[in-house]
Point group: C5
């Protein structure tokens, strides 16, 4: 079990009061508050010093994206919760980074938890939690640490590329989720390459002994990715069916598109999963084949030489009366017999396709 996977349940704090806001991730992140406030005509981008500075944006008619990094700053997050009137359980879920992806629909906002998946430098899959709050004119996003997959969106906001600046917060949320889901394709591609590499190794027929561990490791990676992505299908389909005016009807087409992508990803995951199970089978077959080869060598050597040795043994006996021993050419005749036996058996094994 990898460190991360274990964290998933270790982080649950047993015996605490429900609704208490306790951060369960790693502790070393600074609070970074990034703000985009835009409409068709303008776009203000700010990095705020304190949470309080973000409050004025709530009341404007423009669309606001508040991106908060560093969930360990629980006090600040509780302030946002208070100001934006969030349910205590929502705040608890935001800072408890061992949530599974889910959606909770409240009267005047929607709360969504996703998993952002990426590979770290040592090629382990990292799963970072991102939470979104979709309000009337704003999207709040909460990340464990700095660094994310949203740079292209920031770019589009700054340069007014695409439709994004002209549309509402529900479209912004769509682009954010879409960016996360787009990254899943990266993960899937890398998983595919790994499966392919293992397969090549097996096809070449000479896998090293750590291959079972590699297969096992890959199996676990796929389980992990599955767990992060599968619940998303329900999340998105509930957004599509959402009935308030937070999600406009024309935006739902876009969410339908994300849904299709997720189905695409999950189908690929299932295919890789099946292929990995196949790999284990193939490995077992490889082992069996090798054992067979070893057995054949042993059988051939033993079968050929054991009878010959027996014959040699016979004429090594010390009986006083062994007539053959006295014939002048007996030794050479015996060699002839042995060579015939030898080639006969070779021929027999050849016909049996053991050679």
């Amino acid at each position: 079990m990898s460190k991360n996977q274990k964290d998933l349940y270790k982080n649950k704090k047993i015996g605490t009061i429900p609704g208490s806001v306790i951060y369960t991730g790693k502790k070393n992140n600074n609070l970074i508050i990034e703000t985009f406030d835009y409409n068709k005509d303008s776009c203000i981008e700010l990095e705020l010093a304190s949470i309080e500075d973000s409050f004025p944006f709530k009341t404007t008619e423009t669309v606001t994206w508040l991106n908060i990094n560093g969930l360990n700053n629980v006090v600040e997050i509780e302030k946002i919760g208070k100001y934006y009137n969030l349910h205590p359980l929502v705040l608890e879920d935001i800072v408890n980074v061992s949530q599974r992806p889910k959606i909770d629909e409240y009267e005047d906002y929607i709360f969504i938890v996703l998993k952002m998946l990426y590979y770290d430098d040592s090629k382990n899959i990292i799963s970072e939690q991102v939470s979104f709050i979709l309000g009337k004119h704003c999207v709040l996003s909460f990340q464990e640490a700095e660094g994310d997959v949203f740079d292209s969106i920031r770019d589009r906001l700054r340069t007014a590329k695409g439709r994004i600046r002209g549309l509402n917060a529900d479209y912004l949320l769509y682009t954010l989720i879409d960016a996360v889901v787009d990254h899943y394709f990266n993960i899937i591609e890398t998983l595919g390459t790994k499966v392919e590499d293992l397969e090549t190794l097996l096809f070449e027929g000479n896998p090293n002994e750590t291959i079972t561990q590699d297969i096992q490791g890959l199996k676990r990676e796929i389980l992990k990715v599955r767990r992060a992505i599968f619940p998303l299908r329900e999340v998105i389909s509930r957004i599509e069916k959402h009935e308030s005016n937070l999600i406009l009807k024309k935006t739902k087409t876009y969410y339908r598109d994300i849904y299709d992508h997720i189905i695409h990803v999950t189908e690929n995951i299932d295919i890789y999963r099946e292929m990995i199970w196949s790999l284990m089978d193939m490995y077992m077959t490889t082992i069996s084949n090798k054992m067979n080869e070893v057995m054949k060598v042993l059988t051939i050597m033993a079968s050929i030489f054991i009878p010959l040795t027996f014959i040699a043994g016979i004429y090594g006996m010390n009986f006083e009366n062994i007539p053959e021993l006295k014939y002048e050419n007996a030794y050479f005749i015996l060699w002839g017999v042995m060579i015939v036996l030898f080639t006969g058996m070779l021929f027999y094994f050849k016909r049996k396709k053991w050679l």
Copy 2:
């Protein structure tokens, strides 16, 4: 099969009258009646001498939590049943500790059966039944024996920590169930550690012979936990959909939270289950690999020495006319031949990667 598991069905009393209240657990527990009666302003905590002392609390407007330990005191429990107007089948289910988790909705109360899971001193999973009755202003809880997972709730009631004192009985029930479910994370964590340990043992490649029993045992533990937890999903989702005023709408958000936790737990169980099946596969592979290694040693030893022994046998023969025997250096030449054969075969096996 562990003792406990067998009890689960042995406890069913065949041929008894339906609705007869017969205790099926272990017999040696005293009746302990614990009462909390509270509202926002005050909290009375009592340990009652007899069941009858608890009856006055029923009519108060304050929230009452009646916690009864010791289900073998059937007579007392029937008194409660009578006073609180419970259905005979409910009483039967309370004292029959081999129930599966379930919910029964009656007109003026809800009846819930859960399994409290914890490890005993010898690291076996113990599954203790807890039943709850949720009435208008009261929660009745029934446990087999003393000792439970509710201490943090008692504390909160005494010190008015959190929201609990200001809310109604449905919130109390939520905190109680939440405490039970929180403990499942403990179980899951320990199961995870066990799976991890077995995996490490297998990866190191030298498992002892009892590992199949360990894997088998772990499989059974997981089946047991699954059986205790899986039905809970339905229980909680039926609480969420419950339509009377016993469960307030604003409390349902909290039950939704428990539901998410249970899904989280069950997903982990399924992952561990799949990992354990994988472990068995890995073990089989380990055995096969070892057999392969043994075979190789045998094959190498036999293949190298059998032909050499044959040659020695040849010159051990007693033919009168074996010309080689008379050459002065024949013996040393033969040694040379043998050494060439020996190293040749070593080289051959090296190239085949058997060495």
Copy 3:
């Protein structure tokens, strides 16, 4: 395939007219008609001479239980069918004892088919078909042969124990079905013991060769039990949802209870099923382990003695010039060399954990 299992489909009579009442069970049972006619105050118990004697009970307001044993008496059963106005297919199903459990709802009666499971003297599972007709004030039950699981109910009727005498026919039907389902727990318990015994045998590591047959047999028993019990879930849940006044609303709580029991039983069956599949795996592992052990002994013996024999062979050669042969202590030195080789190899195998 056991005899009984095959009967299940052999009994189907191909090419007969639909609705023709043809008995498909064993032929040697006498017709026994047992009647209980009761209300709160009185209970008449009769063993009737002929079917016709039972007809007067139909019109009384009291609850009547008509229990017919011996389905081979087709003519008599057709008389009942006529008098009680039963659909021809119902009569066909009653005497065709290879039905699967099912429920058919007609306008003024409900028809239910169950399987009564018990062990015969040679510990085979016997599956006997029981059919019930629930009318307004009567329950008709049809059994293949004498002997059933209803004695405790007869007792309760006679002695007015429990609620049974004060309630209507739908409650009587409930107690009858409950008695059948209660017996399933017996079956499950015995199956559990059998699984446990096989497991112990395997854990001790020295299973006899018939164990695969035992496992296979157990698998088939479980399939059989499953087939008898699984359809019951649907039967009971349709009783719960039944909308006529044949089933009173307050009785449905009791049927809910049966439903819970059946779920409990089916969950146990599934667990045992999974455990048996595991047992087969374990058996394969045991075989592999043993083979490994055998291989090791062979490898050690061969690896140690083959080189030593080779050395002995060398000095058995008859070359005229083998200098070593003439050294005084050569023989003893050789022994020393061999002992060193021998212990060296022993040590090597010890280090490899083969000894």
Copy 4:
């Protein structure tokens, strides 16, 4: 893959115009048109010379059963289609004998495709397509060739046995389908016997080498039967739910009965399927067990004689100074030592249960 199975998809004619009536079966069947026209009082049975002769029966109030054998006579079948006003796709489906079982509901008729299963003389399962058109007062049935399972129905029509003559076309259709389904029990019974035979062969522990092919063949037969029968469940359940006056309400009870039979058959198929997978497991176990036995013999022979041969080798050496060689009784003492070694090892293997 059997010939028949391949035909199933080969028959599809790629690139043809939808709705074109092209026969896909074997070509050598004569057109045979059989007519039954009956009501309660009379029954006319005719073998018609041409399709056109059947048209007058359409308008009568009596029930007409038109049974057409020989689907290769496409022109005639198109005439029927025109006269009875059938959809072009229906005609296409009738003569395309590679349909899967299905039902198509049109405004004034129902179209049903079934598979009639029977064993041919060389015990292969033959699957012949039968199509039915249910009109207001008529049933049209289309078969590939002469010979079917409907003889008992013809008999009942002629002799007015059972209810059939007094009821409408929907009941006739029921008896026809019932006859087809009844025959499935034959198939299931034979499959069961085959599984049983293979199991016995395996239990006796000495299966011949073709058993894997037999198992594989049986697997394929079961797949074929499944494919023919499984879709029928949906067909029948849609007849039950059909809402026009083509199917009378009181006839639906009978269709419910067929539905139960099909469920019964499919459950048996699934059981046999699971048993066959088990058989393969058992066969693998048998092989492993045999290999084990072979290994043991080898190990015992080698382990016993290799050390003894070594000892003999020692005293075959030609050292000049081997003191033992000169002792008078050395040879006999050595025999004693060897016998002790021999029996000691025998005893050791006995204790290990290898003998």
Copy 5:
């Protein structure tokens, strides 16, 4: 993993703006615009020079089929999108050739994505994406490259064969989809032949070593075909349920027919899938059987000659006093003993069925 499969997800362009029209296939295709404009009486067939030339056809009452080959000409396709008022996501999906089959229903058109499957010259399955837009009087089809399965439809349009010219665009779409689905039968047939060939190879008992790779390759092909075909079921069933006047009620019967074909294809895929898993099992059995055979030869050779060699060794010893050595006929008697031993053991192995 085949090249094509990898392309499926590699083509996804991460970080692009949603709704941006970026072609993801191979780049070397010319734009070919083919137009059929027809009604009952006339049919105009044109190959257009530029997209703009196709626009006049939009407003005519006649049915128009616009077939566009060469999706890399993104600019032209965007022009169509603009003129026909298509949603940006639709255009994105048309040129992103890694879509899974799907349907999107818009207000005045339906968008469908299919996969056209065929074998290329080196017998690899090629999956080419085809998209359809169904408008009021027009069908737009988009293909990656020239060459398709629609030639028979072109023919029918030109020659007014069948119903096609007299019906609306929804029927045209049906014939196009039908042509694609018809081709799946080709694929299935080839897959079936491949499975059959592998099976024959295995049944003959002497598979070459690449068979695991063939099985693995076939498994992957089937996964690929499944992924292309399975989602189609939902697509077609949603067409059937579509509620606008784009799809006439009488055309839906035809779509029902396609649906049946797809079910037929998918069932065959599942059967082949199960057969391939079986093949792997059979291969493992073949290996085990061979190993068994090898073991037997070894065991027989060793078991027969090892004791004989031991005896020869005994009389090769140099003890001064071995009485047997001096008997005149001892050598010949020994031969007799050895021959008896030899035949005895042969007989024993024969009885064990090892020979």
